[in-house]
Amino acid sequence: MRERVVITGMGVCAPNGITLETFSQALQTGKSGIEYHPQLRELKFGCQIAGRPVIEASYLNKYFTSLEQRGLNSSGLVYGVIAGMDAWQDAGMKPTEADNTDWDSGVIFGTGILGVDKFREAIHLVDEGKTRRLGSTSVIQTMASGISAFLGGKLGLGNQVTTNSSACTTGTEGVLMAYDRIVSGKAKRMLAGSCSDSGPYVWGGFDAMRILPRNFNDDPTKGSRPMSATAAGFVPGSGAGALVLESLDSALKRNARIYAEVLGGAVNCGGQRSGGTMTAPNDIAVQRCISEAINQSGINADEIDCINGHLTATTKDAVEIDNWCQALGRSGDTFPYINSFKSTIGHCLAAAGSIECVGSVLQLARKEVFGNVNCEDIHPDILKRIHPSRIPANSLKIAPEVIAKASFGFGDVNACVIFKQFKS
């Protein structure tokens, strides 16, 4: 019999909350983490609003030694270590002792690109002929796997320790990679998560593609408008999310608190065919991914109570809703509740999937469905497919049993995971 997999710990470092509790409150009340960034105006960005976790310098002392903090200039690494270590602690786990490696636990912590600001420092020094001034910190803060390496070392983990990368699908894909590893009996516990740097060097390329909103610089909290008729592009974000996935057997033996069960899921790619491109999804692939996730999870489409969509606040939101309708065979008022946390955190890119998985599981734990902000004017094409009651504006005290969470990314890649209230 295949192992059941449960979630026993979570951590988050999001624009609207850097602890599980504050993040949870923020999603419950619709508190936005989107702010105006003067630096983006100075750099002549069209979109000058963004989501960035707010972290006091002294807060880092809990996570990084004073030596590690010297020359630390990799925001994604900071967010990832905070979220990852918090998740491990939340699961009731501790770093191992000095001469003890935990062979049964591993890390899959993804990112799109790590330590961009640190890399910029290095580029300037190299160009000035001062390569030796890079010191020892340049590589470890800019290698993509720096984040999984830091976490693996801090916690003493000896199973697979790696970093995945699949654009905005990264975090959700990582959860499924961790799930697979536990289901196959290769690990007892996996810390799954993802992080994304903040700042102009990450966000600039998207601004250049003209897919970020330019008309909300004076009203930042209104800028991220998933499912809205006035959605004008995604607001760039940053941060990290982390979940501890564990075999049910191991969780029960440890008497660990169980947030939810991971029933299964699917990842695929549209091959950039049938309308799919580097930047747009192949709808057939999206629908297949959702259907396969449901099949893999051993449930019926009717059992899904709530969807946490990818829903970035572009014109593609209506297409995504249509894909869900077709994949589930549900529409109108039989469609599940649906929400997008991007309305308050923006699109956290490689970190989006993991932060939103944490938010999705919090809904199961808190027995509620979080509301959506900034879609009081639901897009007419969405209203043609589903009833407006399915898009709650305020959080509902309704306990969902099954939540589907999907992420889609550049490269035409898709991931969908199914979470369920845990019942022994």
Binding site: T65, S66, L67, R70, A98, R132, R133, G135, S136, T137
Partner: protein, 82 residues
């Protein structure tokens, strides 16, 4: 600045690189940076950069190879300052 001043400055440079279980009091002129003070060998390049900044000198790659103990480092600094 006396030689002792320079020694104290060098100790202050080395101190942050010590692992948690090595006390700053254990730094002596004879201490081997890697074998006795258990400093991560990757951090030696950072100590060299800190020394360069503190004493306004430049160390060459071969100087680094000769820098095994705290005393070696101090002698290196003395020779560069003169």
């Amino acid at each position: 600045m006396t030689q002792n001043d320079r020694y104290q400055k060098l100790r202050a440079i080395i101190e942050p690189y010590l692992p948690d279980d090595v006390s700053a009091d254990s730094i002596t002129l004879e201490s081997h940076l890697i074998n006795e003070l258990n400093i991560n060998s990757a951090n030696l390049v950072d100590i060299v950069l800190d020394v360069e900044d503190e004493f306004d000198i430049t160390l060459e790659n071969e100087d680094m190879d000769d820098m095994q103990t705290v005393g070696d480092a101090l002698n290196m600094i003395e020779s560069k300052i003169k």
